[in-house]
């Protein structure tokens, strides 16, 4: 099947029941997407599918043929960070960093839908992404700060 990941097309041969998480991590070696619960309870495997956030552990690769898949590796690099990545750094919105890729992709999807969220919107929008280190207060701040940046640019 043909998967378009971070703008690049990949020909992948995988069983029909294989999840997008496994395809990304084990076949394409895009390990920024994390496995934590494997059943849609934690958000660590969040990726964007046609711009919307999905749990890649609950998404079949076969259902993603020819659709735009965006992982953490595709939204910014060390030279050119996405504003939300920069906001996570500036506000120390991470500790161990294991949930961070999922948090950032969930935040991007939230800001795409709602560019000017309130604090309550952020909490509701990010509530599907768990963090055990407890970076939550700073995640809220980072997403709100990135939203402020949206306003300045737009």
């Amino acid at each position: 099947m043909r998967l378009i990941v971070n703008g690049a097309a990949h020909e992948v041969t995988a069983p029909a029941h294989e999840t997008l998480l496994v395809t990304l991590r084990e076949r394409l070696e895009l390990t920024g997407t994390k496995l934590v619960c494997g059943r849609g309870e934690c958000g660590a495997c969040t990726v964007l599918l046609d711009g919307r956030s999905v749990y890649s552990c609950l998404t079949l690769s076969a259902a993603c043929e020819n659709r735009q898949i965006t992982t953490i590796e595709g939204i910014g690099s060390g030279d050119e960070l996405h504003p939300l990545q920069q906001a996570f750094i500036d506000h120390d919105a991470l500790q161990c960093g294991f949930c961070t890729p999922g948090q950032i992709l969930a935040g991007i999807a939230l800001l795409e839908k709602n560019p000017k969220p309130t604090e309550a919107d952020v909490r509701r929008g990010m509530s599907g992404n768990l963090c055990r280190c407890g970076a939550y207060p700073k995640i809220v701040r980072a997403v709100l700060a990135a939203a402020d940046g949206n306003g300045a640019n737009g």
């Binding site: 991590r25 920024g32 934590v36 500790q95 990010m126 768990l130 055990r132």
Partner: protein
Amino acid sequence: MGMVPMAKRFVTTKVEIEGREETKVVEMPSREPEPWGDDAQLHIVGQRATRVDAIEKVTGVARYTADTQRPGMLHAAILRAPIARGRVTRLDLSPALAIHGVRAAVSIDDVPDVKIDGVRLLDQEIYYANQPLAAICADSLEIAQRAVRTIELEVESQPPVITFEQARDENGAKAKPTGNKHRASPRVVTRGDIDAGLRAADVTITREYSTPVQLHTALEPHGAVAEWVGDKLTIWESTQGIFMTRREVAKAYGLPLSSVGVIMHYMGGGFGAKNGAPHSTYIAASLAKKTGKPVRCILDREGEQTDASNRMATNQRVTLGATRDGKLTAISVDVTSILGIGGWLASPGKIYHELYECANVRSSEEFYFANTAAMGSFRAPGHVEGAVGLECAMDVLARELGIDPLELRQRNYSKTDQGKEQAFSNKRLDECYKQGAERFGWSARKKKRSSGRIRRGVGMASLTWGAGGGPPAYATVRINRDGTIEVLSGTQDLGTGARTVLAQIAAETLGARLSDVRTALGETQNLPFASNSWGSITTASVGPAVRVAAEEARDSLYEAAAMLMNTSPEDLESHDSEIHAKSNDKCLLFRDVCEKLGDVMIIGQGSRGPNPDKTTIAAFGAQFAEVEVDVETGIVRVLRIVSAHDSGRIINPTLAESQLEGGIIQGVGYALFEEKFIDHRSGLPLNPTIHDYKIPTITDIPKIDAFFVDAPDPVANHTAAKGLAEPPIIGTAPAIANAVVDALGVDISAIPLTPWRVRGFITTVS
């Protein structure tokens, strides 16, 4: 600053780690720098520098253990016990081995004879549910997991020991052949005369509290990748202690330490659960040996939630006695703790001896085995459990006496460590009380209880925790020919920020730009020893070693620069990676000096010196909570937490506050909903998923104001820093519990304060 090099010699010193004091042999460092006291002029230490490894984490390139890919790597899955007590009567691996893509299997005869929490690795005698019995490796994880389900297993079941009542029943079932009661029970510690203290009391209160099993729930599970090259073994491991893992693995396989390398670059949380090699490490290494290929063995979520350490459950019966004016005359506690099948004797009783001034204190602790997974260290083990009993009882006493809870604590302030009969290196708990109360608005709180369906309440609690760190810890600082600097130490960054604070200490000492410094850690082969990252010891242990190494490197650099600048080393100072001569205003970049030296390497070696004799080094704090309770549903919402801490000098306030917030949030979970459930009859875990075992989400988080009072502690060590990651979880749950009691006007006797439990407390009274 001309330091006089000291003759190296070996001495002994005391180091406290998670409540346990150990005597360590320590080699005196090459020098003892001037302590960074109150008046130290520091430019990089104390700054809110961004985390040095944040870019790797926000871009997804940070490689964690489970992300490790090796050529030809196989994947392992574990067969686990379907019962809590009994034995295997038939184990046939052949159906699994017949599956295409399966490469090998291991059972008890294929793995080293090691014990984990007292149970032989892959033992066929079953001591708890989900105990590993065998393992398979295959070309993919999916094949391995499918193969495990085809293994033919027959077991003979016996009734398990699960509850306190079952464990204490001398005629009942035995968790293990040696019995249920740990032989060290009861462990009794006393000072003064408890009976005299109770006789001297005008008021005595007695209460019982129970605390639950809490699960670490690190998002990255335990796991390892093992690869043999000849007789050399490399382990990528999600661990808080690379050197401890190396020692255990080398011993198990009969290898010299130099033949085993352990690597941990990034780690998805530990919180105490990841000390030493667990089952998965040996399973990966044995399967790798058998197949000649690298093997990855990462626990699945159920394995992580049911067989990867936990905080033990306790029952505490507390008696406090005090004079009418609120002076404690007696503190007594009887604790029963359930260890599970093994673990260590974390002490809930210890904080009863430490927190307040009282001449007569007694703790008696009993520990029981049960057919449940072994307890282990979990963020401030012992103190978190004990603080619930002590601090909730203190509030009961305050009500009996009609004294404000904060006032009662202040009246019993301990100026010295009474238990050890020695001084504190420094103690600013008084400032924590004062500044915490101010920022919380404690004095303005309502004296009358609110009525109606939604009730508000406030509560507070104090905390202390041994956080002085100590030797052994080593570091090397190298300056390269382009002027970049490497800090090398075999410690770990679990997400705490160790990479960042160690770089700050080196940059400060050298007068270098922080961006020129890189910290390398997490590898046993190339880096000098540092101990496990536990007990909040890393900054106070490794930090001083880095400072000594950086001073030594700086002295060499200055010697070279002095030659090039026609002056003496004493004439030089540096900042922003530039060296200035005070006498002739000449200036050279680090890079200029090093380029001229070519490949002459500037290397400094540092180590952690001994702790001061007869001195208690501890962190302190005061935590305040406001809650809202719905009396109809029993739902508790924590509205805000103010948390004031003395942890010595703070190297990086932003990262330190992140640690405080993290500890507080885990404390909110412990107070309100985190609890492992086990079926009392079968012994099977009932909530082995993240959905059923609740950890706080972003919607559960109160407004948090967590901060440090200014309290550098130059007696503790020459960086004046103390530990800070564990303290914030200690007082959170009792502060919340006291706020709930304040809101409802009824006592509580257990946490977590789930809606059904809160409703129970309300209806018991009315």
